[in-house]
Symmetry: D2
């Protein structure tokens, strides 16, 4: 099974190690609460502070969004659409939730493998 | 080669035919102009007025965004994330363009095949 | 809509043009007849005679197999799995058909766009 | 992070539990040795003995093949291509290896999540 890396494993490392981990780690951004049966938007950004290279031999290939064991969305990343400079890749997802969410983003870099975000709990309320 | 359907082929049909075509047709929504080397957001929505069923045996599987002959993004649609009622599926794409764009969205319904949007020209300006 | 190229458009061209078209064109290889409800294997090979580059900035990304308007399989091509030399990419598909097939393969090169095979009719027989 | 299940976690369970695990588990089938720079074929089959349902609301969506941390292939599973009866889904992959392989297959069932095979070591030899 491929290892799945996360920022947390590296955060006690040197500045260089933390930058390496930061630029590979997906971060989930969304409202802190969802409304039942209403569209709920989730953004996933790769790298909180450090941009990832976007070179022909070193780039992100896909970002998946999971709700516990269920795949709720996947964005295929087309490298050339982001130019040739380091970049914060982003992908946007839309869900219509019925119950509370436990979201994790998983993203794949062709050179440094699978990276996951922290799990984010999103409670649901009725309107 | 699979046929690629578009709303235009059906727009002179009956109300029922036009509704069938509308609920299958991807529509591109974005600013009318992009800025060179700056993030440019494109939303693709399936169905301008009529919602598409989102049933286990009749649902959208993916939405691709093309710039002329180049694939610039693909969103895999996870049916269960959108509930069990008819819905306007949406996917958001992010590009960092260097030159003007000629965008087309192509989307695949597991029951009624490939559908494309109209081509949209987006001129580019320098900031 | 992205143009979909085929070998036939180029076959009256110069030797160079024909080689360009050959190395981009998917070719379907399978038995000439299928048996109802029995596994049926289809191979798609890119390039009948000429190998396609497999370079970081020029490679195939996916191969789809269509039966008329229905997507029956898709293989995502991971460039690095095929080394760094020109290569005949291949993908294998498995179907369990109920009725006769009209197969087309469609493949995407990140530099030269979408290419399709000829349509292949596969009659079905009962065992 | 979605849990990744494997047959080994369930093999001491009841007959019913073992059947549940068997029909979800990808199994890698290939030669025990690869030749450097020569095509190497790998088959992944879901379920060694028990067939998985292939129903509109319970089916496999994709099979990935990993070599340690590197994704070496992905097959998208089109449910309708396999009929409406329980089935052993299969996907075939082609690699041109330079060094020894440590392969794992990972497959996603839309109802019961991610499942992985055992890791398989494939030594490489020169011809």
């Amino acid at each position: 099974m491929p290892r799945v890396f996360s920022y947390q494993e590296f955060e006690t490392g040197s500045e260089k190690v933390r930058q390496y981990a930061d630029k590979h780690s997906p971060v989930i951004m969304c409202d802190s609460e969802a409304v039942r049966n209403m569209p709920f938007r989730v953004k996933v950004k790769i790298g909180k502070n450090v941009k990832h290279p976007n070179a022909p031999d070193h780039h992100y290939e896909y970002i998946q969004l999971w709700n516990l064991e269920t795949l709720v969305g996947e964005a295929k990343i087309q490298r050339s659409s982001f130019g040739d400079d380091p970049v914060h890749i982003e992908a946007d997802f839309l869900l219509i939730p019925k119950i509370s969410l436990r979201l994790t983003a998983v993203a794949y870099c062709n050179k440094h493998g699978l990276w996951r975000s922290e799990e984010l709990f999103v409670p649901i309320k009725d309107e």
